[in-house]
C-alpha cells in the first residue's frame, strides 16, 4: 500500500479510512472486514489485548505511515478512534 501524507488522510472520508484499517484487521487478525464499523469496540467486541493493540499500531505505522505513540494507543477504544487518529495525523509537539 502506498503511504500517503497526513494531509491526504485527513481529506478522505472516515469510511474510506475505516476500509484501510479493516483490511489490516482482516489480514492480521483474521476478522471479517464487513462486520467492522466505526463503533466496533476493541475490548468488548474484538477481545483485543495490549499486544493486539501493539500489533495494530505496528501495522498502521507500516501501512499508513503514522507512528502511534504508546500514550495515544492507550486512549483508543473503538475503530472510530483509530480512524480519527489517522485523519488527525502525527501529534503536534
Amino acid at each position: 500500500m502506498q503511504v500517503m501524507t497526513s494531509t491526504a488522510w485527513s481529506q478522505r472520508p472516515p469510511e474510506e479510512v475505516l476500509a484501510v484499517v479493516a483490511k489490516i484487521l482482516e489480514q492480521e487478525f483474521q476478522l471479517d472486514a464487513s462486520e467492522l464499523a466505526l463503533d466496533t469496540r476493541f475490548s468488548e467486541d474484538l477481545d483485543f489485548d495490549s499486544i493486539d493493540a501493539i500489533d495494530l499500531a505496528v501495522r498502521v505505522e507500516e501501512e499508513v505511515g503514522l507512528k502511534v505513540e504508546e500514550e495515544r494507543l492507550a486512549e483508543l477504544h473503538t475503530l472510530g478512534d483509530v480512524v480519527a487518529l489517522i485523519q488527525a495525523g502525527p501529534a503536534r509537539p
Partner: protein, 320 residues
C-alpha cells in the same frame, strides 16, 4: 541469609510468587563483607555451609530439584546426551550452584564486577543492533545469572531494561537498591495493569533500548495465558506475552543466558530468535517459544545445576 531457592518450602498448589523468601538480610550482608574483605575463597564456603542447612530443611525444594534432575537424566538417555544422575548429592550441588549465583549477583551489584570475567561471543552482533538504533528484545530465563548479563550491559553503557516481578523479591531488591542506588532506573516492574507494562516495553524498544524478559515463569494471574512447549520430554507452560510480543514488535529478538563456566567466570550465550517468514502471529509466537525451550534444554544439559526454578515447573495447575 537469602540463599534458599525461590520456590521452596511451598505447599503443592501454591504459585511460585506466593512462596516467601527465606533467610535474613544480616546473613547476606556478612557474606558480602567477607567477599569484599577476604575474597571469594572465604565467601563461597560460607554460602555452602548456609545452603546445607536450607537443603536439609527444604523438603519441597529438594523434591523439585530431584524431579528436574530426573527429567534431565531421562531426556539425556533418550537423546544420547551426557549421563546425568538424579540423586541427593546432585540435588545438593544444584542448591549450592544457586547459592553461588546469589553471591555473584550481590557481588556484581556491589561494584565488584571487576573481579569477574565474561565471555560474550555474540556481543559485537548485539552491539551492532544497538548502534543501528534498533531496540532489542532479550528473552532470558531463571538459568545461570541474569544479573551477570545486566552488569556486563551496564559496564558497556548499553541501556538495558529488565522486566521484573519485583514484589516477589522485595527483600533482596532492597539490598540491591542500597548497593546500587540507580538500579531501579533500569527495572521495568510488571504492573498490575498488563496494558501499561506492554506499552512501556514497546516504548523502550522504539527508543532503541534493550528490554530483557525472563520468559520461563508465569507471573501471578497468568495461568490462563500460557503457551505449551516441549521441555525435557514433557509439556511445560510458558507465559504467552513475551512470545506474542516477540512475534509482534519489529525489533530483533534474542535468547540470552549468562552461564557460569567457573569461579567468577560467565559466558553470555545470545542467539537470534527469528520467526518464520510469512506465518501468522500465532504461528510465529509458537515457533519462537519452541526454539526458546529447545535452547533452554541445551543449556540445562551443559550446565545442569544452573536451572533455578525450584518448584514444580511442569505442574501448571499450581497457579491457584
Amino acid at each position: 541469609m537469602t540463599v534458599a531457592p525461590a520456590g521452596t518450602a511451598a505447599e503443592p498448589t501454591r504459585h511460585w510468587s506466593r512462596i516467601p523468601e527465606r533467610g535474613s538480610m544480616l546473613g547476606l550482608r556478612i557474606t558480602l563483607a567477607c567477599y569484599r574483605w577476604f575474597g571469594r575463597w572465604v565467601a563461597v564456603p560460607l554460602v555452602h555451609a548456609v545452603v546445607t542447612y536450607f537443603y536439609a530443611t527444604d523438603r519441597k525444594g529438594r523434591a523439585a530439584s530431584l524431579d528436574y534432575l530426573a527429567r534431565l537424566r531421562d531426556h539425556c538417555e533418550r537423546t544420547g546426551g551426557p549421563a546425568v544422575r538424579a540423586n541427593l548429592w546432585e540435588s545438593y550441588q544444584h542448591y549450592r550452584a544457586f547459592a553461588v549465583s546469589i553471591l555473584d549477583r550481590v557481588a556484581l551489584w556491589s561494584g565488584m564486577d571487576g573481579r569477574f570475567t565474561f565471555a560474550f561471543p555474540n556481543q559485537q552482533k548485539l552491539e551492532a543492533e544497538g548502534e543501528a538504533g534498533r531496540g532489542v528484545l532479550l528473552l532470558g530465563a531463571h538459568l545461570g545469572s541474569f544479573d551477570a548479563l545486566r552488569a556486563l550491559a551496564l559496564k558497556d553503557a548499553v541501556p538495558v531494561n529488565a522486566v521484573m516481578y519485583t514484589a516477589h523479591a522485595s527483600r533482596i531488591n532492597r539490598i540491591f537498591r542500597e548497593l546500587s542506588p540507580d538500579v531501579d532506573i533500569r527495572i521495568l516492574p510488571v504492573s498490575e495493569d498488563p496494558v501499561e507494562t506492554v506499552l512501556r516495553i514497546h516504548a523502550c524498544l522504539r527508543r532503541g533500548e534493550w528490554v530483557a524478559i525472563l520468559a520461563d515463569r508465569l507471573e501471578p494471574g497468568e495461568s490462563g495465558r500460557t503457551r505449551g512447549v516441549s521441555f525435557l520430554g514433557s509439556e511445560a507452560r510458558v507465559p504467552r506475552a513475551p512470545f506474542d510480543l516477540a512475534a509482534t514488535v519489529r525489533a530483533p529478538v534474542y535468547t540470552i543466558f549468562a552461564l557460569r563456566d567457573g569461579p567468577a567466570r560467565y559466558r553470555v550465550v545470545a542467539e537470534p530468535l527469528s520467526p518464520p517468514e510469512g506465518a501468522s502471529r500465532e504461528a510465529r509466537a509458537d515457533a519462537m517459544a519452541a526454539t526458546y525451550a529447545q535452547r533452554l534444554e541445551e543449556s540445562c544439559i551443559t550446565h545442569r545445576h544452573q536451572w533455578f526454578n525450584f518448584y514444580d515447573f511442569w505442574d501448571r495447575g499450581a497457579d491457584a
